[in-house]
């Protein structure tokens, strides 16, 4: 499997993990380990002064793991820039998963604000990985604004519906000069494998692992699926369509024999 390179950093694993919705931090830490991931997202929240809960970072920070703070909770570009600066300060990394979803129901990314924020954050020195609609034109604009990857959604977040946007993802992958990470909607290892077979650079998975019957085993399953899909992509897929139906005569090319 070729190594994935984002902003000059090499990754052996093409599976990124989200840390939401796990039953416990301990379980999450085991799932992270089983997934083999080298990129883990974290959100931010306001500190509760009385509550001395255990620190998430102790379960996530490992050698070889790139922390990817997200901007979850912001509703526009201005808030995103503020959140990004807080994240850089708190976690000591300039890597950022930019996500701006003003709508609380479906958490759909706001394209215009995401583009605006990407432009500003790149100027401020951030490595920006924007979560975005599976919109090929938007992805080109994000790339031109300096995004380190694009992270189009496969389906509405949390739905586990797989690659509902596959026709657009294919165009995005074909046109991109930056890695394409499929984010959101991946509900089963087969979805991740499909994304990787199409030529996606990586997948970001959270819900499908966190809410599985056995999240640790599911993390391992996703690891294998992502590797299998990528390896298949690099190997070159075999026959897929009915284009090969032969015909006895040559009605279209007979003129070439004249």
């Amino acid at each position: 499997m070729e190594k994935l390179v984002i902003a000059g950093r090499e990754f052996s694993s093409r599976l990124f993990l989200g840390t939401g919705k796990f039953d416990s931090n301990a379980l999450m830490a085991k799932a992270i380990e089983a997934s083999g991931t080298e990129m883990v997202t974290v959100a931010m929240k306001r500190v509760e002064l009385e509550d001395k809960e255990d620190d998430l970072l102790t379960h996530v920070v490992r050698p070889g793991i790139q922390l990817l703070p997200n901007t979850s909770g912001v509703r526009n570009a201005e808030e995103a820039v503020f959140a990004a600066q807080m994240a850089r300060e708190a976690f000591g990394t300039n890597w950022l998963k930019l996500e701006i979803h003003p709508d609380p129901r479906y958490l759909l990314p706001d394209s215009t604000e995401t583009l605006k924020a990407t432009e500003e954050l790149v100027k401020l020195g951030f490595v920006v990985l924007p979560y975005c609609q599976a919109d090929p034109t938007l992805c080109k604009h994000l790339e031109e604004a300096g995004a380190a990857t694009v992270m189009p959604l496969g389906a509405p977040i949390g739905t586990n519906k797989g690659l509902q946007t596959r026709d657009f993802l294919r165009i995005i992958i074909e046109q991109a000069n930056v890695p394409v990470v499929v984010d959101a909607g991946i509900g089963a290892p087969s979805h991740a494998a499909e994304a990787m077979e199409m030529g996606a650079s990586a997948c970001l998975v959270n819900t499908a692992i966190a809410v599985a019957g056995d999240p640790v085993a599911m993390a391992a399953a996703f690891k294998q699926a992502v590797e299998a899909g990528r390896t298949a992509y690099e190997a070159g897929l075999g026959l897929q369509a009915e284009n090969m139906v032969a015909e006895a005569s040559s009605p279209l090319t007979a003129f070439l024999n004249e």
């Binding site: 989200g18 840390t19 939401g20 919705k21 796990f22 931090n25 999450m28 997202t41 974290v42 959100a43 931010m44 929240k45 306001r46 500190v47 509760e48 002064l49 001395k52 620190d55 998430l56 970072l57 996530v60 703070p69 997200n70 979850s72 503020f82 600066q85 807080m86 994240a87 850089r88 300060e89 708190a90 976690f91 977040i157 970001l204 959270n206 819900t207």
Partner: protein, 65 residues
């Protein structure tokens, strides 16, 4: 003096952001502090004087995708 920390009123003897963080037993690492919606880098905490009614936000890591 009274300041607001994450929308809660806090009575403190601290005079700087650095001493406030210490006073509230916040971890030195893994957090970020903003005053009036502007991030204050930790290198400036010691010199950043508190004032009455100041609005401070402290964030830390949380689970999320």
């Amino acid at each position: 003096m009274k300041v607001w920390v994450n929308n809660k009123e806090v009575e403190t003897a601290a005079v700087s952001l650095a001493s406030l963080v210490e006073d509230l037993s916040l971890p030195a690492q893994g957090i970020a502090v903003a005053v009036e919606n502007r991030m204050v880098p930790r290198t400036q905490w010691a010199d950043y004087a508190l004032s009455e009614g100041m609005r401070v936000v402290v964030v830390k890591a949380a689970c999320g995708g």
